[in-house]
């Protein structure tokens, strides 16, 4: 008889591994990809393809020639970063800018910290913010999507996003009601389905929620961050709206417009850069929700999701240290 294998317990393992989690996230993004291609045409597919290819390429070249370590290109994490980066840029972005974004995401935000699991910030968001600050014009000229049942593809006209219309109008002294009633404003239903201007992957709340539900039932994400994030953003914007509905956008519109749903379910929940204990995750979510509304309402940019999440990413180590899970046997025994 050959020798017996000996190792410490446990001798069985659960079914999840890093690969299955990463590919699960990719599957969850498929509905949003379809919606995007429907509204923005093949341009959306082009952006996603280039972004993914560039991310995989940079992982490969860095691991092979710079780190000279093992190749982990097929673990799915670069794929997720690639799709998420594409989701965060307009569908008419020039190819070279997408490649620069991928280089920043993978090279600076991820590999320089040690690769998978070591990055303090969400790589795709670092890439997006880098592009937004470096190329503000290209990053904020959004193709107008075609109407829901219109034939053909979009005619490459650019226009502002839902939040952009509101921000500019409010700065010009108009009231929210006036702006929402104006022609060209997408409205709740279109924001829900995805017929609004915006980045490749953020336009359709329904498609993103479908993916989020999939991740929740596959146990890839937990409820803590999304509930805390949307809850605090909803309550904060709700209070402002109650104070002055003419000056502040109502909370439902805040939820549907811009990158809220994408950010809440796909980027704030990024396990690498978010806190570990349930209590810490709640704190993280509440903080991100408040910051998002703060930036949207008083900041220079119409959208605040990426900045809010990145700022909270910076707090993650501190939150991990301050909010520990409840230890068993910590409370005095009840009699």
């Amino acid at each position: 008889m050959s020798l017996l294998t000996v190792s410490g317990s446990p001798h069985v393992h659960g079914h999840q591994n890093v690969k299955s989690i990463m590919y699960g996230v990719v599957v969850a993004m498929i509905p949003a990809i379809f919606v995007s291609v429907y509204f923005f045409g093949l341009d959306a597919a082009r952006v996603i393809f280039i972004s993914v290819a560039a991310c995989l390429f940079f992982v490969w070249i860095i691991q092979k020639y710079l780190l000279k370590g093992p190749l982990t290109i097929n673990d799915g994490s670069a794929l997720v970063t690639g799709v998420l980066l594409a989701f965060n840029v307009p569908s008419n972005l020039p190819v070279w800018m997408i490649v620069v974004g991928a280089l920043v995401s993978i090279g600076i935000a991820k590999m320089s910290f040690g690769g998978l699991g070591k990055n303090p910030f969400n790589p795709a968001l670092i890439g997006r913010v880098f592009l937004l600050i470096s190329f503000p014009v290209q990053m904020t000229s959004w193709p107008v999507p075609k109407a829901l049942f219109a034939p053909g593809v979009t005619d490459a006209v650019t226009g502002p996003t839902t939040l952009g219309i509101l921000k500019e109008g409010l700065n010009a002294g108009k009231s929210v009601q006036e702006l929402m009633g104006s022609s060209g404003f997408p409205g709740y239903m279109n924001d829900m389905i995805g017929a609004q201007g915006g980045s490749v992957g953020e336009i359709s709340a329904i498609a993103l929620l479908l993916g989020a539900a999939y991740m929740y039932f596959r146990k890839i994400i937990t409820w803590h961050i999304p509930v805390a994030y949307t809850g605090s953003a909803f309550v904060f914007s709700g209070i402002l709206w109650l104070v002055d509905p003419a000056r502040f956008i109502d909370p439902v519109m805040h939820m549907l417009a811009g990158g809220m749903i994408l950010g809440v379910f796909f980027m704030a929940t990024d396990m690498v850069s978010s806190p570990m204990s349930p209590r810490g995750q709640l704190v993280f979510g509440v903080g991100a929700g408040l910051l998002t509304i703060l930036i949207r309402v008083w900041g220079a940019y119409p959208e605040g999701v990426s900045f809010a999440i990145l700022i909270m990413n910076a707090f993650t180590p501190l939150i991990n240290r301050s909010f520990k899970p409840k230890r068993f046997g910590e409370v005095p025994a009840k009699s």
Binding site: V6, S9, H13, G14, N17, T72, G114, M271, R327
Partner: protein, 443 residues
């Protein structure tokens, strides 16, 4: 449905031998009886080479407060006293006996009838359990008589009987609850009397509905004994988790169950107590599950202590050709054996034969900080942090993060998507922290 609140996992149950009635394994030609088979101080050997012994005769005496007697499981001649490798992988002294016939010690009541009336007093019960070498059969092998002696100033209110058997594959407790239920219930009554408690709860997980129904029916005849069905969740058989599940009480960190008025005993222990007190029978045999996916005949065997493990596997159809690993115990907490010559001891609840393709660990990749280890830890610890501290030899920090609370259930390693050997590092850390604390006491 009751269960413990935080953490826990649900591994595949694989209770292959659940339907196999208990069979007595034929006596081997030789038994190897380790002199120390319980937690606590080693027992003192009282036989010499060449001695002729009967089944049930005392071989080694437990003299310290926490130690236990060891008896011969067969009749025959002591051929050698030598160092052997035991199930824990350590070299230990064992008595080797060449089996001749099966002559039982005269004091043992060999009759099959069930003796329900408890005539012994509280003190006599404790003494008898000590004498008969009864230890906890759930796996920890804590001497049972010590559990009965409640420390000064404490009061036991509840006796909890552990019939959870949350380890995958294992079914020995399940079969005992079905086949030896009356004796077990009397054993529980004896424990109640020994501890002076009025209430006993038998915790059984929902995946054993036949045992729950059967014991519920019988328990009606025994006042104070209640069957509590529990949701299936590992590690519910852990002492602290079981207390939490049944009574809602939390044993404070670093304290014993008696702190919250509870004492926990395994169902197998209850049966051993019955046999010791009512039948004068020392603990020299136990039921062992022999199981595995490739094994021809997964079985539950009544085995004499000291029988080499390979005899059990032979009886269950022989070692399958694709065997990669053999485990003493269940797949979550059991120990991998280095050889099949090791003898069955009091703490052996099962022998699991695993095929080669399931024997290797998955490749380790970077931690992705998914925090699954934290969410499954039944003790509310942060395994990822503790493993990191151990890896970096920051043992004082690990102590402050309560590494000693770890019950080594393995849920963290089981669930880690990166395949990181979390429990390996936690064991290392616990060990080092233990040494640090002991040295601190010496100063």
């Amino acid at each position: 449905m009751k269960t413990f609140k935080s953490g826990g996992v649900h591994p595949e149950e694989n209770k292959l031998s659940a339907g196999a009635a208990i069979e007595a394994l034929p006596l081997p030609e030789k038994v190897f009886i380790p002199v120390s088979q319980s937690l606590g101080a080693p027992s003192k050997l009282i036989v010499e080479k060449g001695a002729v012994v009967k089944t049930g005769q005392l071989l080694a005496k437990g003299e310290a407060f926490i130690s236990s007697n060891v008896h011969s499981s067969v009749s025959g001649k002591v051929s050698r006293i030598e160092e052997i490798t035991d199930t824990s992988g350590y070299r230990r002294t064992a008595v080797v006996i060449d089996v001749e016939g099966d002559e039982w010690d005269g004091q043992i009541d060999c009759s099959r009838e069930i003796k329900a009336e408890i005539t012994l007093s509280r003190e006599e019960i404790v003494k008898k359990i000590n004498e008969m070498g009864v230890v906890g059969l759930g796996g920890a092998t804590f001497p049972s008589h010590v559990k009965l002696m409640v420390p000064e100033g404490k009061k036991a209110e509840n006796l909890l009987i552990n019939g959870v058997e949350c380890e995958p594959y294992l079914t020995s407790d399940h079969r005992l609850m079905l086949e030896r239920s009356r004796e077990m219930l009397i054993g529980i009554q004896i424990l109640m009397k020994g501890q002076d408690v009025k209430k006993a709860y038998i915790g059984i997980e929902k995946n054993k509905p036949d045992a729950i129904d059967h014991l519920k029916k019988l328990a009606a005849e025994y006042p104070g004994i209640e069957v509590v069905p529990l949701k299936v969740k590992y590690p519910q058989g852990g002492e602290k988790q079981l207390i939490k599940a049944i009574t809602g009480r939390e044993v404070p960190s670093g304290k014993l169950p008696i702190e919250v008025g509870c004492v926990v005993n395994n169902v197998g222990t209850a049966l051993a107590v019955y046999e010791a007190v009512q039948k004068n029978k020392p603990l020299f045999e136990r039921v062992v599950t022999v199981t595995g996916k490739s094994l021809k005949k997964p079985s539950n065997l009544l085995v004499r202590i000291g029988t080499p493990v390979n005899k059990l596997i032979d009886f269950a159809g022989g070692l399958p050709g694709d065997t990669g690993k053999v485990i003493n115990g269940g797949p979550m907490m059991g120990k991998a054996l280095t050889t099949l010559e090791v003898p069955v001891v009091k703490g052996t609840s099962g022998i699991l034969v695993m095929p080669e393709k399931e024997s290797k660990r998955m490749p380790v990749v970077n931690c992705i900080r998914c925090a699954r280890c934290i969410s499954v830890c039944p003790m509310g610890l942060e395994p990822v942090l503790l493993a990191q501290l151990s890896e970096n030899q920051m043992f004082e920090n690990a102590e402050n993060e309560r590494i000693l609370d770890c019950i080594e259930c393995g849920s963290c390693h089981f669930t880690c998507p990166a395949g990181r050997p979390l429990l390996d590092y936690l064991r290392l850390g616990k060990n080092k922290v233990g040494i640090i604390i002991r040295n601190r006491g010496k100063k």
